[in-house]
């Protein structure tokens, strides 16, 4: 059987979550590997959530937020972006590929972009294979 990566997605209510909805209602096809969690703003995504997702066996974590200038809480998306960039460096130091963490700006109108990004990300994770943390048998 081929490897099916597990992706945890955090999506902003005002943009990417609605974009995902639009992808669904427009019957756009994208892989079923992602479980989306709705948040009120990407600025509310604590880096701890992302590490917890990896620690519990996620192969990839996706974050979808509002385009620059569009965040409803001013700068939540920029904050999230900086956290993600720093987290990527941390993941690399932990021996985990930073490509397992991906952030994109996707608006409510961009259902097609959502489907594309998730398809691409799923492919990327298939290439990378299972998260190396799984082999460690996780200790929570």
């Amino acid at each position: 059987m081929s490897f099916e990566p597990k992706i945890i997605g955090f999506a902003c209510n005002w943009c990417t979550y609605a974009g995902a909805d639009l992808a669904g209602t427009s019957r756009l096809k994208y892989p079923p590997n992602i479980r989306l969690i709705r948040v009120m703003c990407t600025g509310r995504i604590d880096p701890e959530f992302i590490l917890a997702a990896f620690a519990r066996g996620a192969d990839g974590v996706f974050i979808g937020g509002c385009h620059p200038g569009d965040c409803h809480y001013m700068a939540g998306n920029y904050k999230a972006k900086r956290r993600v960039e720093l987290l990527k460096r941390l993941l690399a130091q932990l021996g985990i590929s930073p490509e397992r963490l991906r952030m994109e700006f996707i608006s409510a109108a961009e259902g097609a972009k959502f489907a594309e990004v998730i398809t691409e990300f799923t492919e990327k994770l298939k290439e990378l294979g299972p998260s190396p943390l799984k082999a460690e048998g996780g200790k929570e």
Binding site: D46, P47, E48, I50, E85, L86, Q93, L94, A135, E136
Partner: protein
């Protein structure tokens, strides 16, 4: 146990630098209060007791065990379990016992890598046969044993149940005095604080820091050796990575008062599971924000690249108790 009987205390050091034992003596004359209320039944750094002496004690007969150091060797685990069995109250004393501490940074490597460097690769090592410590070996027909070196470092509560935590590298004298007060009250009334209590502040270090803060953003990260920070302004706002916003208070801001940023030895606040994640979050939040909308990917990368070692910076004292508590064995990236 009201009044007449003295409390029985045990001290132990596992993977430690010895600083926590020294800190215990820093309480100066209060050590006499301790002597007045307590009998010390075990204290390897100061008194000549053997593990056998502890084994002979009745289970539960030691009132309080004050344990410093992380768990690096099988010996540490065995003694932790022995002392847990013998003691009514187990205290994780110091950042090493609470979170893994500085020795916990060794979790960036496993046993094999550490042995290779320590016993084979360092320039000053001459070891042509590549001998490394073995748990069992034979010398002149006799079997010799050594404790096993674990693949990773653990905080104390990963091997035994812990009742109280006294964080700090080492804990501040005022907080050690608080612990003495707790032991004294216990001797007198038999009362103890709720299990799991962290003997420190419930707030962040920023809360007890005397410096002025203006919620300014920082564009450039500077290091303590590069300039002389002004004494009144928040160090983070002067560009130093200060972990005060993500670190539990209780030390009295002692580094800050010496004009040095906080490196996080008091660990996370009560609401937080992963200290490094919350420190990373706090620092990412204050990094250059003003003209953010126009910031290019390259500028963002340059900004973030100023933090040379996120793992060592944000998990300096807490890697073994992090959500991802060691570097993965099969690295995907170098």
């Amino acid at each position: 146990m009201a009044g007449e009987k003295k409390v029985k205390l045990a001290f132990y050091w596992a993977a430690t630098c010895g600083g926590c034992d020294v800190a215990t003596l820093d309480i100066e004359e209060r050590i006499l209060d301790v002597a007045a209320i307590a009998d010390i039944v075990f204290w390897p750094v100061a008194m000549d007791f053997k593990y056998e002496d502890v084994e002979k004690l009745e289970d539960g007969s030691v009132d309080v065990c004050i344990f410093n150091g992380a768990v690096r060797l099988s010996e540490h685990e065995e003694v932790a379990k022995l002392l847990r069995r013998k003691s009514k109250v187990m205290v994780a004393f110091g950042s090493c016992a609470c979170f893994g501490g500085i020795p916990g940074l060794a979790n960036v490597a496993d046993k094999e890598q550490i042995f290779n460097i320590a016993y084979k690769e360092t320039v000053s090592t001459e070891n042509p046969e590549g001998v490394t410590p073995q748990t069992e070996s034979e010398v002149d027909g006799k079997k010799l044993t050594l404790p096993a070196f674990f693949d990773e470092v653990f905080p104390l509560d990963r091997v035994v149940d812990v009742d109280y935590y006294v964080p700090g590298c080492p804990p501040a004298v005022e907080r050690i005095n608080d612990l003495v007060g707790i032991v004294a009250k216990y001797a007198e009334t038999g009362e103890l604080p709720p299990k799991g209590t962290v003997i420190a502040s419930e707030k962040t270090l920023c809360d007890e820091c005397p410096r002025k803060r203006e919620e300014k953003r920082i564009k450039e990260i500077r290091r303590p050796q590069d300039f002389m920070p002004d004494l009144e302004t928040c160090l983070l706002e002067q560009g130093l990575i200060c972990l005060g916003p993500a670190t539990r208070g209780g030390c009295g801001a002692r580094c800050i008062k010496a004009n040095m940023p906080c490196r996080g030895c008091y660990g996370p606040t009560a609401a937080v599971r992963d200290h490094g994640a919350s420190a990373l979050s706090a620092i990412a939040s204050v990094l250059g924000l003003d003209e953010e909308a126009e910031m290019t990917e390259e500028q963002l990368t340059a900004l973030i690249d100023q933090i040379k070692d996120p793992l060592g910076t944000f998990y300096r004292f807490t890697l073994p108790s992090a959500l991802i508590n060691k570097v993965v064995r099969k690295k995907e990236v170098e």
